[in-house]
């Protein structure tokens, strides 16, 4: 049995029987090892998010297979938790009740829920915000609450769909540091989607660069530098230039394609 996430020859076409089927991902193979931090980097609309939804079990792959710890992924499960760009906290629940929502569904005792909530609030730096309502929090705090909600289910892999894209740059950097700390202590794998080169380089054990739609893997760049990484070191600048060149080609391609579609 192979542990971790195995994506084998996965293709996804949206609206396959319609007049204009949209191929999102084509023939993609990718493994994420236990505890590995993998970042998917690619131009907007290249099918990265589609891949996350398939791994989460929210969408079926048109072809190919996804297995997790040797088992076929068919249904969503708390062990593969998904975090969106917007926190999507339930506005009718307090922050604490949002965090323990999954535990309550799982039938955990109120006392245990309470303990988990306090531990997680401390972990994500939201002590004292438990009784607040989501709309009273800032964007960064909301995203931390969403992270706590995902962690409450003790996921084996965190799927993150541009989780910090809606935050300002300063908050973003803080959140990235935060995420790294949590990742190191939780030993979960992370599969994070972004279009920011800097974010990819700051976080990843391995950056997977996507092509324009339909998404395929263009390059894989392992990064062994210890964290926190200095983005101004020669090594990082080299990597950034490399990524930029790879991305630029794809952005160019997708622009040309769009022009042709319009013409």
């Amino acid at each position: 049995m192979t542990l971790g996430l195995k994506i084998t020859n996965v293709s996804k076409t949206w609206n396959p029987d319609g007049p204009e089927p949209v191929p999102a991902v084509r023939n993609l193979t990718l493994d994420v090892e236990l505890g590995e931090f993998v970042v998917l980097l690619g131009p907007s609309g290249c099918g990265k998010s589609s891949l996350l939804y398939i791994v989460a079990g929210l969408e079926d792959a048109t072809e190919g297979s996804v297995t997790f710890d040797g088992l076929e992924v068919a249904e969503p499960s708390p062990e593969r938790s998904l975090i969106f760009q917007e926190a999507a906290l339930y506005p009718w629940l307090t922050v604490r009740d949002n965090i323990t929502f999954g535990l309550k569904i799982a039938g955990q005792s109120p006392k245990k829920q309470e303990e988990s909530a306090e531990r997680l609030l401390r972990l994500v730096g939201l002590v004292g915000a438990g009784d607040k309502r989501p709309h009273e929090l800032s964007g960064g705090m909301r995203q931390r609450a969403a992270l706590a909600r995902a962690l409450a289910m003790e996921p084996k892999v965190l799927l993150m769909d541009e989780p910090f894209a809606a935050l300002d740059i300063q908050t973003r950097a803080r959140m990235q540091g935060h995420l790294l700390n949590i990742w190191e202590s939780s030993k979960a794998s992370v599969l994070l989607v972004t279009h920011s080169i800097e974010e990819a380089l700051a976080l990843a054990d391995r950056v997977v660069v996507f092509t324009a739609r339909p998404g395929q893997i263009k390059a894989e760049i392992p990064i062994s530098a210890p964290r926190p990484r200095d983005m101004r070191s020669p090594e990082m600048i080299d990597l950034a230039i490399q990524c930029e060149a790879l991305l630029a080609e794809e952005v160019e391609k997708s622009f040309k394609e769009q022009e042709q579609e319009l013409a």
Partner: protein, 296 residues
Amino acid sequence: MTDKTIGAPVTQSKWNSVFKKLLTRLEPTLWVFASLSIFVGLWEFAWWWGWANPLLLPPPHIFLANLTDQFRFFDPGGTRAGALATGGSIFSVLGVIAWSSFRVTAGLVLGFTLSLAIGIGIRYFKVFGKLMLPLVTMLAPISPVAWLPVAVFIFGIGNPPAIFLVFIAIFFIMTLATLSQIDNVPAHYIQLARIMGCNKRQIYRHVILPAILPELFVTLRMNLFAAWMVVLIAEAVGVGSGLGQVTMMARNTFNASLVFFTMTLIGITGFAFDQALRYVQRKVLWWVGPSSVGGL
């Protein structure tokens, strides 16, 4: 924002702030009075100038002048057209208002709960939905007034036909509103619930229901006025008591003063109902920000 009036005596600025607070609290009420005053003022002016015949369009100072005289026509038990009622005190007036309010409230509660249940049922059970939806959509455009004879055939005279009409007035609209609200629940809410292990029933109970309630309450409030209009028609024709019956009697006896007096009561009661629903909405649906409660 801090108020820094440098050099101003402390006591004065304190009084200032108290006055300001009072003003901001009273402001909505003041606007209500200003709005009413314009309307009443124009009416009184029209009378004074001789445009409005006081027999047909008696201005407020006439129809509100002799209250005890008006009160005589109010009998919570109902009266035959033209006959003077046994009423005559403010309590009989309140009694009449209470009966109409009861019919509206009963109809609203029934309509709201049943439309919610049916709406959720249509989306939850596929076959039930396919069978119900065409029916609901076809019955929705039929005016409640058209249901009036049906209501009398089924329920006879009394409270039930009036309650039934209020129910009809909101049920179909609220059912369709429930459906559109369910369809507009953010996909992420449901996806997250699935990831966290919710089955279908749990998704409806813990995510969809709380997500759709606030907007449905707004829809209910908007249909409150339709409910009031319908109850008056029902009372005029099929009940024999209540504000609608008084209006009908006033019409039959050509008593313009009474017509306008009753209309005033209806307006005030409707306004109070809206305020009450708003209050309930704020208390029960605490997660809705004040901005989406809107209005006064």
